[in-house]
Symmetry: C2
Subunit: 241 residues, 2 copies
Amino acid sequence: MKKTNVFGVILAGGIGSRMGNVEKPKQFMEIGKKPIIIHTIEKFVLNPQFERIIVLTPRQWVKHTQDMIRKFILQGDRIDVIQGGETRNETIMNSINHIENKYGLDDETIIVTHDSVRPFVTHRILEDNIRMAKKTGACDTVIPATDTIVESCDHKFITNIPDRSCMYQGQTPQSFKAKKLRDVYGALSEEEKAILTDACKIYVLKGEKVELVNGEVFNIKITYPNDLRVAESLLGGDASC
Amino acid sequence: MKKTNVFGVILAGGIGSRMGNVEKPKQFMEIGKKPIIIHTIEKFVLNPQFERIIVLTPRQWVKHTQDMIRKFILQGDRIDVIQGGETRNETIMNSINHIENKYGLDDETIIVTHDSVRPFVTHRILEDNIRMAKKTGACDTVIPATDTIVESCDHKFITNIPDRSCMYQGQTPQSFKAKKLRDVYGALSEEEKAILTDACKIYVLKGEKVELVNGEVFNIKITYPNDLRVAESLLGGDASC
């Protein structure tokens, strides 16, 4: 195994305690005859810079995810499927602890964290993330806001319309020097942890630099039922993805 | 003609001086075998609350737009096609002046302004706009931000990640009591006019109330080439639009 000290971290949900009787998390829905999460994992597998790819899923879906990987991915031996935490950030912490225990962690270890339901991430975006995280220590993938952004804190009247030229829509990957991320997160109070659901926001509030990486309009998160149709049309499309 | 004092204002571009040799503005691209702008106009035509529907296009596209309306829309007699202005807000002012000259304007005259390239606006959204504009004087159609919103004023590092629960993505329609909008806009300096490209922002900066109307995720603006495919899949889809 090549020791690159760069790890893919694919976030596919936490312990799943609040999921009730939902049939199947959306990462297992199929587009182009494969589960969405498989498309996503493939993008990481194709990049030799990733020493390992850690996939974090709800407890009860670990085995199913492993089965899917065995079924669809030839080079599945670089992938570990483990259980996520109670929140997105706890899930990321699980991945860092796993890397430390199994592969060793130092100040330069990079994690590239990515939503399992963003299968259209590109090689270029992954490369830019790795390069920028090595250089700056943290980066976030964004696109310029296409819509006007409107602020309303009472959810009834507009309180502000910020200058659109400063506004971006966050995507993933978000990439970090893993040890530092764990240190900064560990120093938060329980209250802060509850509020700071975005890993990059932890850095911003602590005055740490997070550099921007250009995303792509088509690097969509499959969230709504209609996104599945959009995703099918993106898959059937030209070489842009 | 029913005197409702409510007017649809469909924004399809200004004088077009900066368009160079572009072949066809995107509102004339076809989805479901009809130009996008026709789909949009139809949504307004189907609502009897609109006394007239004013369509504003670049000068050189006025005739073509009229031809398209004659070809595709049976009740085309409620539609006026006129030339837009140099900016989005100037185009809106053209519509207000046109209404004043041809149909009369009073304090209660409502305009429902809408992007010509948002064909998936619904009857419910139009009704809510009319009701809210009558009540509050101004409203903006928005959806809760699906992505995390990231602010970067230097376009290199994140400067802020605002609380997502306060953030919305602006769509259209934006609806106003027309006379007041013209008054508020008219009181701006030339400098302010150049900066305030969003009509609702004029109100917000002047301390005037703008109420939120719930949009729809599928009320997309057709901006990028890929949006055309998305739009086709929305058209072919279920009854949600």
